[in-house]
Symmetry: C2
């Protein structure tokens, strides 16, 4: 059996965002009970005292120091960590920058698709993780091929998108389809959790994965397709940057309305999403629709 814990539930930039004084960010600074600040997305899979991080976000150092189960223990020597490995679901900066915070000559095992590995290895900053032999061990993760993540816990990547982040556009994902962004199916005897913080569309395979799960952590970045544009003209639509919005006839809630088996949990909330305000109508609609809205620290 395993636990998936959410150490951060905000999208990139966190909540509030450093340069944002919108009604929501402002409210979170004035009334953190009504509109609670959130760290950037980070999850960890825990089983029998061992941990595997799902991605490595920019707030990782703070999240480790706030989570005793992720801290080193003096009885295990001067330098040690209960973190066995990291699984990367994309090469997005918000999912990989934390790796650069984990570079104190500590051996790390990183599961990534060959495409994501290629993108990151090409970046000079990652040489900081290659200073001593075996500092970084890459393990190829191929969509559809289950592997053992922790004893008794398997992980299977689901292809989600071929869109590489802006900084890596020159790579081209066509030679390795389905590897730019993946979701994860985590399974042990009697438990299945699907982790999909970025959902650009719901394929039949993804829907079937959701239907077979006990809990699903689903992309809750945006409430509506145009909310980023309304906050800042000239920015893209939600669907253009790989996120199905929650609301609307073709939104996430509508598409998954008939899914009644799993616990349905929204994660990766952008600072523009009105559900961040506990008193908003949008939040009430989400809860009334049978969804949960994750808080930092929650366990699935």
């Amino acid at each position: 059996m395993f636990t998936l814990q959410l150490l951060g539930t905000a999208a990139g930039g966190g909540f509030p965002q450093w340069n944002c004084a919108c009604a929501l960010c402002d409210l979170s600074r004035r009334d953190p009970v009504r509109c609670t600040p959130r760290l950037q997305l980070q999850a960890v899979v825990r089983s029998q005292g061992r941990n595997v991080l799902l991605n490595a976000g920019p707030d990782l150092r703070v999240q480790i120091e706030a989570t005793p189960t992720l801290q080193p223990r003096p009885e295990n020597g001067r330098r040690n960590t209960p973190i066995d490995a990291i699984v990367l679901t994309s090469a997005d900066l918000d999912q990989v920058l934390g790796l650069l915070l984990m570079r104190e000559f500590q051996p790390l095992r990183v599961y990534a698709t060959p495409l994501v590995r290629r993108v990151l290895e090409a970046n000079s900053f990652f040489r900081m993780l290659e200073r001593v032999p075996q500092q970084l061990t890459w393990v190829a993760m191929l969509p559809g091929e289950p592997f053992e993540l922790l004893p008794g816990v398997t992980c299977t990547a689901i292809p989600m998108s071929d869109d590489l982040p802006y900084y890596a556009k020159s790579f081209g994902a066509s030679a390795e389809p389905g590897q730019a962004v993946v979701g994860l199916i985590l399974a042990s005897e009697g438990k299945k959790v699907v982790y999909t913080p970025a959902v650009g569309q719901i394929s039949e395979a993804l829907y079937q994965g959701y239907a077979a799960a006990d809990a699903i952590a689903v992309d809750g970045t945006f409430w509506s397709d145009d909310e980023l544009q309304r906050a800042q003209p000239g920015t893209p639509l939600a669907r253009e940057i790989g996120h199905v919005p929650m609301s609307g006839e073709d939104g996430m809630m509508a598409q998954l309305a008939k899914l009644r088996g799993p616990r349905k949990v929204f994660v990766h909330l952008n600072n523009t999403n009105p559900i961040l305000d506990r008193q908003s109508d949008e939040r009430k609609a989400v809860l009334a629709g049978g969804w949960e809205i994750a808080e930092d620290g929650w366990e699935l």
Copy 2:
């Protein structure tokens, strides 16, 4: 007049460090009053409500949200920041990663030497700061040439070292000597502060800069030359990685013993430095020697 505030005073990795269970890191987790946790190095120069960051460290998001004077204000529009610019003293990851956290389409002005700019612009991650026109404006900072940082506040870079960080070794600093690592002299009418978190040696020019200052923030990374090696065999000596240790006949305190004018403050404390323990003999020796040991939040 200006204020230099220290938002973080630990060296890279912070204190405690994520994978370290040494006596000091362990003590800081058990007894944070005696051995207080510290965020990674970050400073800000403030004058008349405007701010310039000195470097941009990995903990910057947390530091901004803990510092109301650095937060956007709703009366200035949805997206805004009281941060005018960032001055980089090196291309070290611990001094630049925060720039990648400030990428929400916000125009930024960055002062850096041409060498540091060249190193960073070559890194693909920095394309995330070039998504809209004028997002990032580089201003060339040349050692020895004063420039106006804020109204009435000048800044002058002092050459400190030609050592580029490990990830950028291939660049070679020889064509642009004195540009890999710099210190900063900040001056306004009636006030002079020198900011030198990395001091590999004390040149005559640097000593004269210190002597003319009201306050100096000085490299306090290591107490002794071999403390990193004692914590983890195979790692380098303090002096090999550009840090004069505090103690010893040729240490920082000995070399600056005759300097009686300025307030002398140690910053950039590594997690191995025994002065982090308020009850240590080393800390008492530092204080008895006329030095101060900076705490997060202090103002100079």
